[in-house]
């Protein structure tokens, strides 16, 4: 599938690379013991180190390093046993020390790859260039008071992972799929909550365009896009803009831009000419970071099953289609839910119920799998009633709706409403005879060759028996008399 944008001079291809900032899940900050939790009154999660007080020194938090290594392993990437922290110096009011500690020349994680799957089933691999650790900045406001600045350093020093992709992305859909996959992996690993609304995951988008077969042209960076949908929009909008610039016979300037979703446009933030000179150099307060292979191995052994592996296992173990398996592994909690429902039961039936009725109900009620009104055990209980033919599939839908509303177990509902399937041949035969008698004309037509009417008779019999008849037995009885 080749995605192109049609310009006046023909088709253009787009080239996209993403830099994702993912906030590390950790108890404390990258270089201090202060809490790294989100929210809280301003300046309640701040140590003297975070505030850049004179004489304060950073001390690397091992937990954050472990999280970065786990993430690297989850991205099937090379773990660099020796890495280094640099200072990135620039005047920015939100940086208490006047520099950011970041890994520049020697990141902890090197090349890796992420597999994505598109809606048409195409599988692609997006290269990861690197993953490095760095500190988040604080927040300051200078326009609230003429003589004072308001500063909140709760975020200052929180560990971030910057995950840089190769410019392998060729369409907005791939960008979306890549971000969703990345988020899924991070969440599985428990290294980042992937919450873009709270800013714990944000993306810088590098976009350029070219004619097929050309080398890369000038790229622009769109900073800090905070939803997957916006990333996809921004790529399209920016690519279209660049195509217009090129087709007007002008060069695209390398610059940093902002995406304005309200006006569906990107705007220049700063040009290359006034780009920052960050004045990197190795942070003299920190020793090079050296990790043992044995520790990396230990972290690898402790990794959870990753989504791709889980999907493949589901296909193999439960015999469900790859697409269904992908849907079920989208989140660890869904996968766990499904496995509980499927265990010892008809796994395909379980998959249909989870991806169909349950997801529908969750969507309708605005809930997630973790606060599902029907537990995996309860859904399993209902499926057991279907399997042992206590209820049929149609009644099961009714029971499911009741479960949603009342929270009662399927067995209780069947009992209370008297929904038990009728398997008494006498009752079925009687209903069949009655339907035949009342629809003599249709019987004639059927016998005259109008086979399609069979469904009509089934429906009438089921209706007469309030849906509780065993459908297989009804079929059999009808075939006999017809």
């Amino acid at each position: 599938m080749t995605y192109t944008i049609e310009g006046k001079t023909g088709a253009w291809e787009i080239v996209v690379g993403l830099e994702v900032h993912a906030q590390v899940i950790s108890h404390s900050k990258l270089f201090s013991g202060a809490s790294a939790s989100y929210g809280g009154e301003p300046n309640t999660h701040v140590s003297l180190v975070d505030a850049g007080f004179p004489g304060m020194l950073p001390v690397l938090n091992q937990e954050c390093v472990a999280q970065a290594i786990r993430t690297g392993l989850g991205l099937r990437a090379r773990i660099n046993l020796e890495s280094r922290f640099d200072r990135k110096n620039y005047f920015y009011a939100d940086l208490p020390t006047g520099y950011q500690i970041s890994q520049f020349t020697h990141p902890i994680v090197g090349e890796g790859t992420v597999e994505i799957e598109l809606s048409d089933g195409t599988v692609r691999h997006i290269g990861i260039t690197r993953l490095h650790m760095e500190q988040d900045a604080g927040k300051s406001m200078h326009d609230q008071d003429p003589a004072r600045s308001f500063i909140d350093l709760n975020r200052a020093g929180v560990a971030l992972m910057e995950i840089v992709s190769e410019p392998d992305i060729r369409c907005p859909e791939e960008a979306g799929a890549y971000l969703r996959k990345l988020r899924q992996i991070l969440r599985y690993l428990g290294t980042c909550d992937g919450n873009m609304e709270e800013g714990s995951m944000r993306a810088d988008v590098n976009v350029s365009v070219r004619k097929a077969g050309e080398p890369f042209r000038t790229r622009c960076e769109i900073k800090n896009v905070n939803s997957i949908r916006y990333v996809m929009h921004a790529i399209e909008v920016e690519a279209t803009r660049q195509i217009e610039v090129w087709e007007d016979g002008v060069e695209v300037d390398q610059e940093t831009r902002l995406f304005d979703p309200a006006r569906n446009e990107t705007r220049s933030l700063r040009s290359k000419e006034d780009a920052h000179d960050y004045r990197y150099f190795p942070d003299p307060d920190l020793l090079p970071l050296v990790v043992e292979q044995a520790w990396v191995d230990e972290l690898e052994r402790g990794l959870p099953e990753l989504p791709d592996d889980k999907r493949d296992r589901f296909v193999k173990e439960y015999g469900i289609p790859r697409y269904d398996a992908s849907v079920l592994v989208a989140e660890q909690a869904i996968a766990d839910y499904y496995e509980e429902v499927a265990k010892g039961r008809d796994a395909r039936l379980a998959a249909n119920w989870v991806t169909g009725d349950l997801f529908g109900a969750l969507n309708r009620t605005g809930r997630t799998i973790t606060d599902s009104p029907i537990s995996a055990a309860a859904l399993g209980g209902m499926l057991d009633l279907v399997s042992d033919k206590t209820i049929n599939g149609k009644i099961a839908k009714e029971v499911f709706e009741d479960m949603l509303e009342t929270g009662d177990s399927a067995a209780d509902i069947v009992e209370r409403k008297g929904l038990k399937q009728v398997t008494d041949t006498g009752a079925i035969d009687a209903a069949v005879a009655d339907v035949m008698a009342r629809n003599a004309d249709k019987v004639e037509e059927y016998r005259g060759g109008k086979d399609r009417l069979f469904g009509f008779f089934v429906g009438q019999v089921m209706k007469a028996m309030a849906g509780k008849a065993n459908p297989a037995m009804v079929n059999e009885a009808l075939k006999k008399v017809l």
Binding site: L48, A51, G52, F53, P54, G55, M56, L57, P58, V59, L60, R87, N89, F91, A93, P96, T97, G98, Y99, S140, H142, A147, S149, I151, D277, Y278, R279, Y280, F281, P284, D285, L286, L287
Partner: protein
């Protein structure tokens, strides 16, 4: 003997023998500060009341037999060490009202061992200088005088306040920090002993940073033994400083007076540089003879990259300082000058807050780190630094300790060199290489020059072998019998 003339070692035994009380000892020093500080300007912030209170507690501890190595000993603290609740300025306007709510590890260690802080000593602003003339709180005067000349001399820098206070009897010892010679050079100028330990030996936590990869705290005192006692307290691993080294602290006092039989002393040819005064060359030769007499073997060695030391230092140190001082922007602490925009506020604040020498080094550092020049300057300097370190490593395969002059000249008068920054930087030509290599080094006074000013010799040791420095230093001290005292001193005013 006056209480302000005692060594720490003697005062500690005097206190234990109840010859005098800690309050008497401390009061003698705070009185001396009251009398002489208006002239010497060795202290930015004397802490008389707190010191007398601490002295009372020291006396109580002495009575209870709970005295530790420094109980009741009055010390000056370079105003680069953050002291809990006591103004800490780095001799800069930008921090002139900064009161830290925390204690540096080094000063906390000294307090743990019972020391009494009599005040915060003056220094070059943010420790940038070799003459203690860049302080926002005014220059420090060296208590020594040239023969027949009343010109005010510089005490050296940047720990000039500490050196002057110790020499003049306004403290029994003082803390210094040494980045390129800031302990050793003022020690030489003021006729005292100053020890820069191995980088990583003393924690940098709570010490205001100048150039982080070089800064190291160390003791300044009137005897080698006193430096050993102070270092014993100051040194040690600190998990709050990632560059502090986790290795045992030996018994430094035990090294003082140790036999030097068979010790190999290296004499690096490259230190016979131009600009080395004849009297210092003579003092150096005298030192060589003394160590020979003490049983040492003298070995000629070469440190071929010495000539690049100063140039490299003036790339690395400003680079780090430009980064370390970026936090002083008027936003969170320190002085703030309003401006129409945020950038204007930064500019006005930093222009008003930093003196010319600090601004010069920030500019140099910003330049050498900037994108187009990083490879040519900073990266090249780091490579040369590696070569300098290798010189020392190779020399120490042949010898145990190196002997060199500390500074090319004795103390000079205020104003004599201040108009030429490069000339000023040359004062550190002998001290900088050991700093670049992270080696421990010490300056010991060995005599007086023709004009009556003290001359110091420098000993440079293997990493974490401060003991050999102390042993060799005490041999020089013994041989020199340096008992001279400066013209301006506590006892002299009585």
């Amino acid at each position: 003997m006056s209480l302000t003339e005692l060594t720490i070692a003697d005062a500690a035994s005097g206190l234990r023998a109840r010859k005098f009380s800690a309050v008497e000892l401390v009061r003698a020093h705070t009185d001396a500060i009251d009398a002489l500080n208006p002239r010497l300007n060795a202290y930015i912030t004397p802490t008389r009341e707190a010191a007398l209170k601490a002295a009372q507690q020291a006396d109580e501890a002495l009575v209870k037999g709970e005295a530790r190595s420094l109980t009741g000993i009055p010390l000056g603290i370079k105003d680069l060490f953050c002291t809990n609740g006591v103004r800490t300025t780095a001799a800069s306007n930008i921090l002139k009202n900064f009161v830290p709510p925390y204690e540096s590890t080094v000063t906390a260690n000294l307090l743990r061992d019972g020391a009494v802080f009599v005040g915060k000593t003056n220094l070059d602003e943010f420790a940038m200088g070799s003459a203690n003339i860049t302080s926002a709180f005014g220059p420090v005067e060296n208590p020594w005088k040239r023969n027949g000349d009343d010109a005010a001399l510089v005490p050296g820098g940047s720990s000039g306040g500490s050196a002057a206070a110790v020499a003049a009897g306004l403290a029994m010892g003082a803390t210094g920090t040494d980045t390129g010679g800031s302990i050793r050079q003022p020690a030489a100028y003021c006729g005292i002993v100053g020890l820069k330990p191995t980088y990583g030996r003393c924690s940098r936590f709570g010490t205001i940073a100048y150039a982080s990869s070089l800064d190291q705290a160390g003791p300044m005192a009137r005897s080698v033994r006193d430096c050993a006692i102070m270092l014993q307290s100051m040194a040690g691993f600190d998990e709050r400083d990632s560059t502090s080294v986790n290795c045992d602290v030996p018994d430094y006092s035990a090294a003082v007076g140790r036999s030097l039989k068979g010790l190999k002393v290296g004499i690096p040819a490259e230190y016979r540089a131009e600009g080395l005064s004849a009297e210092i060359a003579a003092a150096w030769q005298q030192g060589i003879e003394w160590l020979k007499a003490a049983g040492c073997e003298i070995v000629d060695v070469s440190l071929p990259h010495t000539k690049y030391g100063l140039a490299t230092y003036y790339i690395v140190a400003p680079a780090e300082c430009s980064s370390n001082l970026a936090r002083y922007d008027g936003l969170r602490f320190g002085e703030r000058v309003p401006g129409d925009t945020l950038d204007a506020m930064y500019e006005a604040t930093r222009r008003a807050g930093f003196g010319p020498e600090v601004r010069r080094r920030i500019m140099m550092g910003t330049y050498v780190l900037s994108a187009g020049y990083y490879d040519a300057y900073y990266l090249k300097a780091q490579k040369v630094r590696t070569l300098i370190r290798r010189d020392f490593t190779e020399a120490f395969q042949k010898v145990d300790v190196l002997l060199t002059p500390t500074a090319p000249t004795p103390a000079f008068a205020q104003g004599e060199q201040s108009d030429d920054p490069v000339q000023m930087y040359l004062n550190d030509i002998f001290t900088v290489p050991a700093s670049m290599a992270g080696m421990p080094a010490m300056s010991v006074p060995v005599g007086l020059g023709a004009t009556g000013l003290p001359l110091g010799l420098q000993l440079i040791g293997r990493p974490f072998d401060e003991e050999t420095l102390l042993a060799t230093g005490s041999a020089l001290e013994q041989a020199a019998g340096f008992t001279h005292r400066p013209a301006i001193r506590a006892e002299a005013t009585k």
